[in-house]
Symmetry: C2
Subunit: 749 residues, 2 copies
């Protein structure tokens, strides 16, 4: 029975409320009512109290507080009415025994490798419980060599070194953070023959360049360093010893020695206070202008005269990880699942990363639980996961997804991930079949700072920060908000890229002074002063992901949409065409430049200059299979979206279930059991983290990376594989349209 006040609201609201994808107008009204109630259960002070509890001590993999947090979380979920279990896995998780970095020439210097406690930060003194500064999955090593500064340490940087006649073979490289995911730096260094890798946080990317440093301001101080994994995650994430299978107690394991995702050379992260004496001691040519950071020294490349000694030894033990899994069975369709997840492990206290995101998910889950207790059980089953071991390499999510692969592929419709959250603009990335759905949610959530929806702010941000006139016009005029594609860097990866489950990653940020990533200063005190004072954006995150969860769980038909998807994939194909053309022109230019000695003649005569070898000509590629597949997807999408999408939610339950059965698995069509070239774990043909970016996405990855990496013979096979995946997806959309009564696919042979 609808109370009178609510009825009045419904009557008033009805004529002006925009539609909700997957809902009939009547169901949409009920859903909005529910969301109003949902919002009322969200309490900022609860988010703060949970953070105070969860980030009170370091809670990395294998820590006592990490175990306590898992138990606490399970207890909370149970108290909110969820069927809750803690699933344990056993993973390889190295911790440091020996860490030595010293300069042996021209002047001795021993790196401090420690972050001092601060009076203004009440958890910073918990040294006995803190993991020291290190990079997980670095191999052991004891190396001494000349130092070379390699900028971000990405492939292009080694090209620049080659132009200067500088080789890193047998040397130790000094790379700065940013420019790629950190694990790429030792990988590329080792490919070029380096024997060790040091990674420092330059204040230009992460320090005083951005504002006052902690504790005066929120930015990285001189002795704070960035921990983090350097496993070769673009090959596969999760436990390095159990690729593709859950690392249960009895799983078959690879040998630690030679495990494919461990680094080939020892790696250590350092602060900018530790980096400064090393940089000062380098000689050789001055680095290119865009290699120079914000330390008050000339950035020389070397090699030498600085020589450094790097010695690392790790304890290569197995550790337990504990995923907390909470289930609220659906009332109508218990075998159609919607899942939310956020990790609970941190590198140290991890107030921002991940507790800020976790507490917002807890508020959401508590409210969903309260609604269920009040009689509003979701139509579909909702799962909440608090993952362990995300920091070392998406361990908890990957091992769980690998363990439950079959059931997840059968039942899980959508996975919605979150991680750190703070003040700012909404960021959403993920499967483009959910793009319109995301826009509707963003439209319906108010920003706490401006009189506008979070979607309006997201759109404004896209307009202001658009690169180029075309992108600006698109941001301004497109009907739906665009969402980015997902690469890697959080727990959506096993769901999206290994299992082919439509996924989203959701969080607010950008208006914080977040200079404490993976340091001991990612703390409660820092978070409350510099990130989301009062948890206003924690609550708005809960409103956002809560609407996503509830709408996905309650919609009469799953709220997928395909014209935006076809539009987006069509853009990727056009990008490939432009990429090939740009590479072709560059190769032609390079040949002409070499013939005419242009670069040699222009080169500064103060420095060594080694002309670039001439690029091979870039052939023309047949991208037509991709264009044809996209065209078919566009037609199917048009049929579904114009003649089935609106009518489907009003069908009888049986026909809706039939449509849903297709929609639920549509994203699986984008996968291929062989996976991508060189990395079979990554099955998705549209989205993958880049081989040389690590987190950054490469769309249509097999084709794009074959062109980028000049493996021209691999391009057309990759085109055919990706085109087949898109065709398969289009066939599913045709089928869904036919089942919903809008299409003609059923009549096709």
């Amino acid at each position: 029975m609808i109370p009178l006040g609510a009825l009045a609201l419904v009557l008033l609201a009805a004529p002006t409320e925009p539609p909700l994808l997957g809902f009939t107008p009547e169901a949409a009204q009920a859903e909005r009512q529910l969301e109003t109630q949902f919002d009322e259960n969200l309490k900022a002070e609860e988010l703060g109290a949970w953070m105070d509890r969860l980030a009170a001590h370091p809670h990395h993999v294998g820590s006592p507080w990490g175990q306590k947090n898992a138990e606490f979380l399970a207890e909370q979920f149970r108290s909110w009415g969820f069927e809750t279990r803690v699933e344990e896995f056993s993973v390889l998780f190295p911790t440091p025994k020996v860490r030595v970095l010293e300069m042996v020439a021209p002047t001795p210097f021993k790196a401090v490798l420690a972050e001092p406690p601060l009076a203004q930060d009440h958890t910073s003194g918990q040294q006995a419980e803190q993991l020291p500064v290190y990079n997980a999955y670095s191999v052991d090593g004891d190396v001494t060599g000349e130092l070379v500064y390699v900028n971000f340490g990405i492939p292009d940087d080694y090209e620049e070194l080659a132009r200067r006649g500088i080789d890193v073979k047998g040397k130790i490289v000094l790379a700065r953070y940013f420019g790629s995911w950190r694990g790429i730096k030792p990988k590329v260094a080792a490919e070029h023959g380096a024997i060790g890798c040091i990674i420092f946080s330059d204040p230009h990317e992460d320090g005083y360049f951005h504002g006052d440093v902690y504790p005066k301001g929120g930015w990285r101080s001189d002795q704070a360093a960035q921990r983090g994994s350097v496993a070769d995650m673009p090959l596969y994430p999760g436990d390095p010893l159990t690729p593709g299978v859950g690392s249960t107690a009895d799983a078959k394991r690879l040998d630690v020695k030679g495990a494919p995702t461990l680094t080939k050379i020892p790696v250590l992260p350092i602060s900018y206070a530790d980096a400064l004496p090393l940089l000062k001691a380098l000689g050789g040519p001055i680095a290119p202008a865009n290699w120079r950071g914000s330390l008050a020294v000339p950035y020389h490349i070397g090699p030498g005269p600085a020589r450094v000694h790097l010695k690392l030894e790790f304890d290569w033990s197995q550790h337990p990880i504990r995923d907390v899994i909470a289930v609220l069975p659906g009332a109508d369709q218990p075998d159609q699942w919607v899942m939310r997840g956020n990790h609970h492990d941190g590198w140290v206290n991890g107030a921002a990363d991940p507790i800020s995101g976790l507490v917002a998910m807890m508020a959401e889950a508590k409210s969903v639980g309260l609604l269920a207790k009040a009689g509003h059980r979701p139509r579909r089953t909702i799962l909440y996961a608090a993952w362990d071991g995300e920091e070392p390499g998406l361990l908890g999510s990957t091992e769980w997804a690998e363990t439950h692969e079959k059931e997840l592929q059968a039942k899980l419709a959508v996975y919605v991930n979150s991680d750190s959250n703070s003040r700012g603009i909404l960021g959403v990335a993920g499967s483009h079949s959910l793009e319109r759905f995301v826009g509707q949610v963003a439209r319906d959530v108010q920003d706490p700072q401006r009189k506008a929806s979070v979607g309006e702010r997201m759109r404004a941000d896209a307009i202001v920060n658009a690169r180029g006139d075309e992108a600006r016009k698109d941001a301004w005029d497109r009907k739906d908000l665009r969402i980015d594609a997902l690469g890697s860097g959080s727990d959506y990866t096993p769901f999206l890229q290994h299992l082919g489950i439509a996924s989203l990653n959701v969080g607010y940020g950008g208006e914080d002074d977040y200079g404490v990533y993976h340091s001991i200063y990612d703390s409660i005190d820092h978070y409350k002063r510099f990130e989301d004072d009062g948890f206003a954006y924690g609550v708005v995150q809960a409103r956002t992901t809560g609407r996503m969860t509830l709408r996905l769980a309650n919609a009469p038909v799953l709220p997928l949409e395909f014209t935006d998807l076809a539009d987006t994939v069509g853009r990727y194909v056009k990008e490939l065409d432009k990429l090939a053309e740009a590479r072709r022109t560059a190769a032609e230019d390079s040949a002409r430049r070499a013939r005419e000695h242009i670069d040699l003649l222009a080169a500064d005569t103060r420095f060594t200059f080694v002309p670039k070898p001439v690029d091979d000509p870039v052939p023309y590629f047949n991208l037509a299979p991709l264009s044809n597949a996209v065209a078919r997807l566009e037609r199917a999408a048009h049929t579904f979206d114009t003649s089935a999408s609106a009518s489907a939610p009003a069908l009888d339950a049986g026909r809706r279930a039939a449509v849903d059965a297709v929609l639920l698995k549509a994203e699986r069509s984008f996968t291929r059991s062989e996976g991508l070239p060189r990395r079979p774990w990554f099955k998705h043909q549209i989205y993958a983290p880049g081989w040389y970016t690590g987190y950054g996405v490469k769309t249509l990855p097999a084709v794009r990376e074959a062109i980028e990496q000049k493996k021209f013979d691999d391009v057309e096979p990759a085109v055919r594989a990706a085109a087949a995946a898109i065709e398969a997806y289009a066939a599913e959309v045709e089928k869904a349209a036919a089942l919903a009564g809008g299409g003609t696919a059923a009549a096709a042979p």
Copy 2:
């Protein structure tokens, strides 16, 4: 009589030598012979010895060593066979009596304002003779106020401040050098109501960001500051008290008080050591990313809490300046003049600026004198000028040009300027009627470092550093090298922009570690270690400008060419069209952004944001008169260059003289007696320094600045004026073509 060896050379060379503009093939052969002899007289060791003599002591305006240098130079020119005189003017040249800069809050700090002597630099200890660090033509002042960091202090920077709700009224601004000529900074600050201006050298533009600092390397050290003039030179250069007339002893003078080119507020330059405590003490929002330099602090904008006290008092005396003028009368056409110039005054010892350029000019002049003594008198009269008072404001050249205006307009064909010179790539800028001529000279001079001509290196540099594909293609494929247009910053300005005399500025550079501009460390020791060790590029500069001087003086017909000119002016017109269109689109975007509150919605909620007022719509302008004028110039150029240029040098002497009489004055057609809007001293309608750039050129300045400064009513009158100038130039080219027998203009009504 030609010696046998030389004859063989001529015979061998003849079939393959490319033509020389203005020469018959026979005359070209003789000219090349002469140039070979010319080169043989150039001795690197003489350049070094002259630098040792001229830069031995500080030699600024009014200094004892400056007077000695003028006398020494006159003596040298006389000894080389030139009719030499020293012309004196009396100019306003303020020198500091009181310089105080101190921070009074939040913590006291007194700026050092002094450059320490160095053991490694033998002239750096001549403190009694050095001018202290100051900006010439700052007004006296005694002000105290809150400090605001304004980045480069150009108009766009104040737009950024306005978006943050920050006003400089009643405050003292702290600006960094670069981004504009220094005199723009106090000008714009005063326009916005600031009461004082401090300018510092940021290591990002001028210091350790570029390499090791002096004396370890060549780059600016922490206590070195940049002296320099801040007179409003875009209004008029030269003595502030005698605009438009020579500042002879009896000239009518303005009152010092209120002289239009003095600053409106006190200004002082400081080192980065002195700037650091001030920047550290600033609060308020963090500056935009592209405002942040390389000091190891967050760059806050303020205002305050830093408050500073700036007190400046100057001695406003008149001082004598001494131009050394050396003349070698022409054998055939004594009333057709070719002039070379380089200043001799420095801010302190000025080894690079200007002695490096001056000694190359001396070598050139000595060799020209030796050739004359050996019987190779030039056909036309050659003048060499060593200018005094360039540093405070082009005083020597301006006063001399104003004094001799009538004779120069009647006789001077081309003025070729030089200034500092060092190792690197040839840079030439100037009148585009000389573009092909410049390319021929660059083709004929060998680079000392690479096996290529300096022209090939210049072209390679243009290709490598081209901005965008279109520019790269142009640099690659255009028949002639492009030269830049001249703004201001050296002694060509009175000749080109006041008198309308075709001019060039020529020098090598870019492969030096030149971090000592306008400091006491611009010294002999620095120059020899870090700029042009062994004076190889001093000699190559003499070869380059010597060829220019000799070809201009000896060519049977003046070597001007007009298709390159028409092409270049045509590009400027297209740029204006694009500029107007870009401004129009920007205004439309700005209106839409305001309507939809885009910027407000995207703005970071941590900071104050004041939306930008909506721009007025930009009307469509009639640029057709310019296009028509350029079309006429193209036709005339085509006629001259295809049917007159090659045949003219073979005409009889009388007809050549008639053609030359037109060519000599062609550039005058680009001037207008009323000058540019707001600045009648600047008469040239094609090239001028920008009102808000100071040195940087604005081509078609009246039109371009009217659009940029949103004075839309002024655009079309400016279009008509510039078009009339181009039409007048085209008429001269038509006349020259007709006189040379190739055109039909003589038959026109």
